[in-house]
Symmetry: C2
Subunit: 673 residues, 2 copies
């Protein structure tokens, strides 16, 4: 309160008009602004800076706050379009508390745009008021005349057929009779279509939705190393050998087969088995040490085959309903041709030596990172883009992108837009195991799917918090992909728990998330030995050596994986993330959650997972029927899609019990009974 | 998956360069974009569409997500300015998880602007890496040479003094010795000031803060009807009489005295006592039926006095440390001069009669609403603005605005900007008892303070939820003002509970909210009779008749009100809303909450309120020391500012008990012991 209360600012240099003369006017708008405010629209990613994500054929649900001063009713409409086509319009409906909702069903892949408009519904307001007055017996002939005038306005904007009807209504009102007209739909329709909307209230700007094909939003990935696809021998397998794996993967119901980099592998500073710094003559090296005299990011490792073999593998996958995804890892071995062709794309140290990858005090001498802060960055960006376009031209429709968070965010934003300009069907999975803001930023700028922290979320509380966050705050722009393992990640839980824990983790990944994946051979067989205690690296990791996988073992998890994928295909509820909801249990080792879908038919799935499969675990699940689109108090049949049993359950507490050796949980399809 | 996986879009009309020729490039930026991303800035009201609110002398705390790809460190700075002055800069500090915070302390009323920038801190990254390598014993002479080159760059941008020192560091590095330099502040300072920031990462756009004088953010309002300020007689009191009330109000520690409209009152359709439709000759009418042959919104009711009397009242208030607030109610009695002068500002019905205010089926024939959808709206807006400017010219610095939600939002936004262009010190309190989105919209577009739903939040759960929402989501733009009663609102709780409930409600309002107010005489004396059961209107409401108030009664709540305002003045913690936190109790009738402040000295206040003063209530309060800026496990002295006792309390459970007749709660000032 030390500030002067009155400054000497009411000085005569600003004329006022208290006696009638006109004062100085600042910024008075040219035309009368709308009384309607539109704000708080969803989806809206960073205020419209980035597109939300949608799927062809699935409605984009839009909501907004729409309100005006005073007592008049407002009407709201959703306007949307594909690309730069003409705008289309859908009415929005009040949800209460000034919130309106509507939706549109995009029918094409690409960028859709929408906005929300609102206006005062004068005719609708009058109809509602007149009904109220009629019920209270205070509707007067003057009130009816006001209505007639409003109808005149609407009828002047209506087509011939409607106009005749509206004129009859106006005539009836002028004759002092409301007759049947107040309840006639013709007035409601006329209010919407011809009531007059000027001045129109609108959101400041538009929002966009990038619409993908369905596989971008629901997919099961299976990763394997093609060089390790011969079981009975030590030889380096080829892409032709890898074709033999496809039947197995298709039988398990996966959608996408994903291969680590298939390019020539550097020899300089090549890593040996178990990541040893001294490779021997026979060591095959890491596929992520990309490039040799045989070529770089657009070449095929000679031991794997040729470009023709890639195309044959693509075609073989397609024949089996699979898509082939390649790994794009923008980094080079010291032998990559780019080091000679484009030395300016790399960093050199004052002694002239090349700058290897570092994470001080560690140093990775088999990898040279690309230096994005170089003066030839435009050529670099174009070359990296052309790597994608090259593989797209070979028939590749999906990519897993290695460590995108170590390349500039603006680079990816540009690159993804470039790819989508001609190949909007491309799916890009971001392998960004980094801090949350960076993981999210990559999703916002365009990656179709994102690896998540699922592998390290072990307890029920951790899983509940994390997947709730993913299904709420991030759901408009980030599509989680849950992997229980990868060639880099063998979690402590998997190391210690044996096959039952692998089963639990598979069940969680496949049902918590519409997108999931496994590093397949190792997962099926429960590969669990770390290189050393405290490390998440595998012993004898396939990253550095050939492996032989005997996939037809009786102890394999393959049947479970196949069953999980079959259940996902049977249940639309499991093919999306938005309706995920958790249900309380009285045992922290029992995690219960549900998903529901309304299309194509009502679908409700309740999963109850035993997080501690080594022990007997029982407890009460408190089923929240309102989260399941069931009526309060509604009983239901619960059919276990894993175990096969069918239970008659009710709302509230239901008992479950798991013994060691049981399936890892129930996947209950619910139906009202 | 019905969408074609591959379209025929890889056609030859888009040349590609897999064999070396350059492909078509879309939208490649001209200069290399920054690697740094800045987003998620706070405060940010609707993405920057509206200013946040601040106070002169109180830091505006700004935070943002700032991050880059890869391993390099980023640095972030807050840039801010008053109006269009030169930008100033403050460093921002990492909070973890890529969040950075900083602040600035505005020293002037008006519009401040800020933004956040970030850049790669190459020198800082090198220093940190070099320290790590040194500790691991792997720091090489080449590493030191890299550092020397970075220092060369910084030193070329530094001033003479610093340059010498930096050159010494570079020399030492070139000689192969890190010496003491890695830990020397000179490198840190050089990294910040001279490390080079191009290309700079920035938030998309700026954000604004409207900075008010402190009274806008912390105030105690006292409302009274000047015509009812003579105790011993039935005569219509004057503004001169009202001056006699000011000593009392000042003694109670209020800041603002607020008068209902003081304009001439219409005679046509005047309301009688208790809102009866037939007024008698002696009925004084409602002050909100504004305008008669004696004038409109810029005239003073002849029975109250003259413009000179208003000025005298303003001066008398100022002498006592009070500000006078007028009520601005933009509506007219049928006798308002504007109906003759500007018939186009009102609505007429087809029979030529004027459109009275309606809420169908109800009709209010003493009030004519202004019709904002008229063709002469520009003149109307200017005239309404000039009403404010007129009273500002008479020395009025604060206004309570009646029903702003029944006038267009864009109108208020324009009007408030107009007022602030010359009178930024003006305080505007929005009386918008309406739906939440409308209440919030008025706060966003510029009202200094907002009436809240406090009056109807009775239970501990309701109060906790509501004030938590106000202190979190809305706190950047909405300043709540809590009123236990108004001339329109006598809640059921007050009707039933007697003086003890009035006391409880006063305690809650004065401590939950930095701004509070009472409809004074009625509140002090516990006026609690409704016109009828189920109504919130008073019996014999002052709105329609003169009243005599004997304020010197022994049963008055005046001493409590005075004590509450004195406690608010003594405790900075109670003079803001941002740090409000609730503490669990085991008795739902006991509500516990705290506020803390760091300036001018650490201040901690813990309130424990008995919501059921008619009965004995006791229970355990679970004091959360971390919410009180106390160390875990810290014991503290709790001095009751209401009761006078001092307790030695500890973290966790502490027992309290209230008997009927006790003060309504404890206001405990806490100090570590």
């Amino acid at each position: 309160m030390t500030v002067a209360r009155r400054t000497a600012q009411t000085t005569p240099d600003r004329p006022r008009s208290h006696a009638g003369e006109r004062a100085v006017v600042h910024d008075l708008p040219d035309t009368r602004p709308s009384r309607v405010v539109v704000e708080g629209v969803r989806p809206s990613v960073d205020g419209g800076r980035f597109p939300a994500k949608g799927v062809v054929g699935t409605p984009v649900e839009v909501s907004a706050d729409v309100f005006a001063d005073g007592h008049d009713h407002v009407a709201a409409a959703l306007r949307y379009r594909y690309g730069t086509e003409a705008w289309r319009e859908m009415p929005m409906h009040p949800l209460g508390n000034d919130r309106y909702s509507g939706g549109f069903r995009p029918d094409r892949i690409g960028l859709w745009e929408f906005t929300v408009v609102g206006w005062i519904d004068h005719l609708g307001t009058w109809v509602a008021d007149a009904r109220t007055k009629q019920e209270a017996g205070v509707l007067t002939s003057v009130d009816l005349l006001i209505g007639a005038e409003l109808i005149d306005g609407a009828s002047s904007r209506a087509g011939d057929g409607e106009r005749t009807e509206l004129q009859r209504a106006a005539r009836s009102f002028r004759e002092g009779s409301a007759d049947r007209w107040l309840d006639d739909e013709v007035l409601e329709r006329a209010a919407w279509l011809h009531g007059g909307r000027r001045p129109l209230g609108a959101l400041g700007g538009t929002r966009t939705v990038w619409v993908d094909r369905p596989l971008a939003a629901c997919s099961a990935w299976y990763e394997f190393f093609p060089r390790s696809t011969v079981d009975g021998s030590n030889r380096h397998a080829t892409l032709a050998d890898a074709i033999d794996r496809l039947d197995h993967i298709a039988e398990l119901g996966f959608d996408i087969v994903y291969l680590p980099p298939i390019h020539p592998i550097g020899e300089t500073n090549r890593k040996g088995r178990n990541n040893s710094v001294a490779a021997t003559e026979t060591d095959v090296g890491s596929p992520w040490a990309i490039g040799s005299s045989a070529g770089g990011h657009t070449a095929v490792h000679p031991d794997l085959g040729t470009l023709e073999d890639v195309k044959r593998l693509v075609a073989a996958a397609q024949e089996r309903g699979l898509e082939l995804a390649l790994d794009i890892a923008f980094q080079c071995s010291p032998d990559h041709p780019w080091l000679q062709q484009h030395p300016e794309w790399f960093r050199y140290r004052p002694d002239g030596s090349i700058q290897y990858a570092e994470n001080p005090p560690k140093r990775y001498e088999d990898i040279v990172p690309i230096h994005f802060e170089n003066d030839d960055w435009k050529a670099l960006w174009v070359a990296l883009r052309d790597v994608f376009l090259f593989w797209i031209d070979q028939g590749i429709t999906a990519f897993r992108v290695d460590n995108p968070h170590t390349k500039p965010f603006r680079f990816w934003e540009w690159l993804i837009a470039e790819i989508r300009a001609t190949h909007p069907e491309t799916i890009l999975l971001s392998e960004s195991f980094t801090r949350p803001r960076r993981l999210e930023a990559l999703a916002k700028l365009g990656f179709s799917q994102s690896y998540t922290y699922f592998a390290w979320r072990a307890s029920g509380t951790e899983l509940t918090e994390y997947f709730t966050e993913l299904a709420t705050e991030a759901v408009d722009y980030l599509r989680p992909n849950a992997w229980p393992n990868t060639p880099d990640i063998l979690t402590e839980q998997l190391q210690d728990g044996g096959l039952p824990v692998f089963a639990t983790r598979a069940l969680l990944a496949a049902t918590l998330s519409a997108n999931w994946g496994v590093y397949g051979p190792a997962f099926e067989l429960g590969e669990h030995l770390p290189i050393r205690r405290g490390s998440e690296e595998y012993l004898d990791s396939e990253k550095y050596q050939l492996r032989r996988w005997k996939l037809d073992q009786p102890r394999s998890l393959a049947p479970l994986l196949g069953r999980l994928n079959a259940i996902r295909r049977a249940h639309a509820a499991l093919r999306q993330d938005r309706t995920l909801a958790f249900h309380p249990t009285d045992n922290p080792q029992l995690l219960a959650y549900s998903k529901t879908a309304g299309e194509p038919a009502p679908d409700r799935v309740l999963c109850i997972v035993n997080l501690d499969p080594a022990n007997s675990q029982g407890g009460w699940v408190n089923v929240q029927t309102h989260l399941l689109d069931l009526d309060d108090g509604q009983s239901f049949w619960a059919s276990d899609e894993l175990g096969g049993e069918r239970y008659g359950w009710g709302p509230g507490r239901n008992y479950v019990r798991f013994e060691p050796g049981d399936p890892p949980g129930h996947i209950l399809a619910l139906e009202p009974r």
